[in-house]
Symmetry: C2
Subunit: 413 residues, 2 copies
């Protein structure tokens, strides 16, 4: 089945709203055995919407177009009007749509009336679709032999509607799921992997599925997609995959945070954080993992030097002597939180996320990471790319978590 | 000037990589007085890329197509081959490209050689573009009277290349910047704003620019775009805008975190956080603001009840009696961190982000927020939408920050 996404909204083209539906839909369609062929983004205008639909049908001949956005109550929501024009049908009161809308409002404890909006009006040949998490119904239609679903642009509503549609109306079109596997590396560039370390890797992997390579904050991820689940162990044993082992932190599909939380659980270790430059984002990342409370006890965001000294027992003399961004200071921060929170292992960060605060010796992008354990510690300064404050913070987090993982892996327990 | 984006990459259609370039480009083009007309996403195949280019030209007649992705060294990077086929020119060694690549490698302290990749080969009529932050050169070409820029898909490289191109080659096409203004509301649905509270709002605002309305985690944001800067004060004084005042937390363009940090600076207040369910994300959000260290001192992530009791002086009896997610507990958490870190004001969170941990009385999405100040405090339980752990955490953060802002605004200082 050929599927295209048409995402409607000026906000998506003006940099007002970061689109999330394309990413989610791409992921979701794979779970039902389909793949998104193409996606088009256009503005809130009837002309642009209808041109986009016609061009998609002419050039891609999709079986299904999924449209997101433009179903709300405001003046710039014109998806329904566009469909009405495209089909040559006026908007008419639909009993089915009306009772659906009344139900949607009831679900939120509210009462619908026709003065509020025109949710009850739809073109004659169009079927309204239930919206389990919002107010506006979706629309299902057929135009030039192409099925069209219109769903709201709000990610939550888009997701539930598309999911329900596939598992309901399109049930018979769901294919058995194929598998995928990542080889997740750190500290090695793409070219070195494929030219020096394992020149046969791409070819060997391609025998099992579609290969692609993605630079992530943690390093290069190599994905093998559309593989038979039975082949996963065979892939892990490939000679080229073995060659890459010294640079690989995981052959599997977990996020770095999940992987760390699971390693800690396996080894029966509790963890805490002491963060300066990352401002709580390391702790937040770890607690994104459901069930992390079994091992993650807590953390301290020691943004000011006073907190570093008063709460983490960092020596004022060392702050003065080495600076807050130093191996000495992060070592003491990590030790401080480990002892104070009575945990087995801890990680600490202190760095310069910018835009200000950099120097020649320690430019923006410099981070000191510390790890403390009862029988040993680690600390190191890294120079990472400065890519703006937020992105640099994310790089810092990846760097700190990889350092923590490195250390955990060496613990025999 | 009509501009389209063609984003290339299987990873974008498979839900492997969240696209960030469309969002950035939309924002950037507005700063140089242009607007993105449309965007198309297609997979890593020569046929799909060239069909997309031809269709864009036929259907949209853009002056400029910006292509992102497919310039790297791996087998699935086929943008250059596509262009070569489209132009009917073979890939040839280019002296200009070669010296550019050598320079790029030198910049990273590495030496380039032709065994590494084919970065030095380009079609004859194509001009290589300098890549200030990466290795692969970009490409500039003209096809069917349409200018085409090919830039790497890596956001950092895409951004710097597109920026440099506009400020260099397209300098004369940069238009004077127009302004924009947000009316940022909280706690009121879109329909109520436009139907009940201020029915004339959309019309009145439309006299000054293009109006749109966006649901955010904090509430509904109304944007007036493409306005003359001189009219900003007039917009603020419109009768309809005044009617909305009780629901408006800002008429202006700052993020919630920036707005709070600036309010704290204005009032000379220092702040700290005590977080359970948000795991450090409130602190991280506040420290995303450059210069936040002037007012943000630090925070405690008290994930376990032990840390709540030992570090924040929360009463074990109250945890037992009311539960960790309760007004009593967050009140004590906020007071605890305020006193311990010796700050003027503090905010605390304790909630159920899911997927586990919910009950009938306190389902997933329940959050207790506390604010503590020397002369008063606030605490309240909210039931927010459960939209998956991460999204729910983000809702929790917005809720906590709005509560903090609410309190700060009432402080006379």
């Amino acid at each position: 089945m050929k599927i295209s996404l048409l995402a409607i909204g000026d906000e998506l083209l003006k940099g007002e709203t970061q689109d999330l539906n394309l990413y989610w839909l791409g992921k979701f369609l794979r779970t039902v055995g389909h793949q998104l062929k193409t996606s088009v983004f256009c503005g809130d205008s009837i002309e642009q919407i209808n041109n986009s639909i016609d061009n998609l049908i002419t050039n891609q001949s999709p079986d299904l177009i999924i449209i997101s956005g433009g179903l709300g109550p405001t003046i710039d929501d014109v998806t329904k009007k566009s469909l009405s024009k495209l089909l040559g049908e006026t908007l008419e009161e639909s009993e089915k749509a009306k009772s659906m809308v009344e139900e949607h409002y009831q679900r939120f404890g509210k009462k619908w009336s026709p003065e509020l909006n025109f949710y009850h009006l739809i073109p004659k040949s169009v079927t309204p679709i239930n919206n389990p998490t919002g107010l506006a119904p979706g629309l299902f239609s057929t135009y030039k032999n192409t099925s069209i679903i219109c769903a709201p642009g709000v990610p939550k509503e888009f997701k539930t509607m598309v999911k329900e549609f596939f598992h309901g109306h399109y049930r018979e079109k769901i294919n058995p799921q194929t598998d995928r596997l990542y080889i997740k590396t750190r500290g090695v560039p793409e070219e070195k992997i494929f030219n020096e370390i394992a020149p046969k890797l791409w070819g060997e992997l391609s025998n099992f599925g579609r290969v692609s390579s993605y630079p992530r904050l943690t390093g290069i991820d190599i994905l093998i997609d559309q593989i038979d689940s039975d082949n996963i162990e065979k892939i892990k044993d490939l000679p080229s995959v073995k060659l890459l082992t010294p640079y690989t932190w995981q052959v599997g599909n977990q996020s770095l945070e999940e992987f760390i939380i699971n390693k800690l659980k396996e080894k029966g270790l509790t963890v805490a954080t002491a963060e300066s430059c990352t401002g709580g984002l390391v702790a937040s990342g770890l607690t994104d993992v459901s069930g992390s409370s079994e091992v993650f006890i807590g953390g301290i965001v020691s943004y000011s030097n006073d907190i570093k000294m008063d709460e983490l027992e960092v020596s004022p003399i060392d702050i003065e002597k080495y600076g807050a961004v130093s191996e000495e200071v992060v070592k003491q921060m990590a030790k401080g939180v480990r002892e104070k929170y009575d945990v087995d292992i801890s990680v600490s960060t202190s760095g310069i996320a910018g835009p200000g605060g950099g120097s020649t010796e320690k430019p923006v992008g410099t981070i000191a990471v510390g790890v403390s354990f009862k029988s040993g510690s680690f600390s190191k300064i890294y120079q990472l790319r400065n890519e703006g404050r937020k992105k640099t913070k994310n790089r810092f987090v990846a760097c700190a978590l990889l350092s923590l993982l490195n250390f955990i892996e060496k613990i025999d327990q």
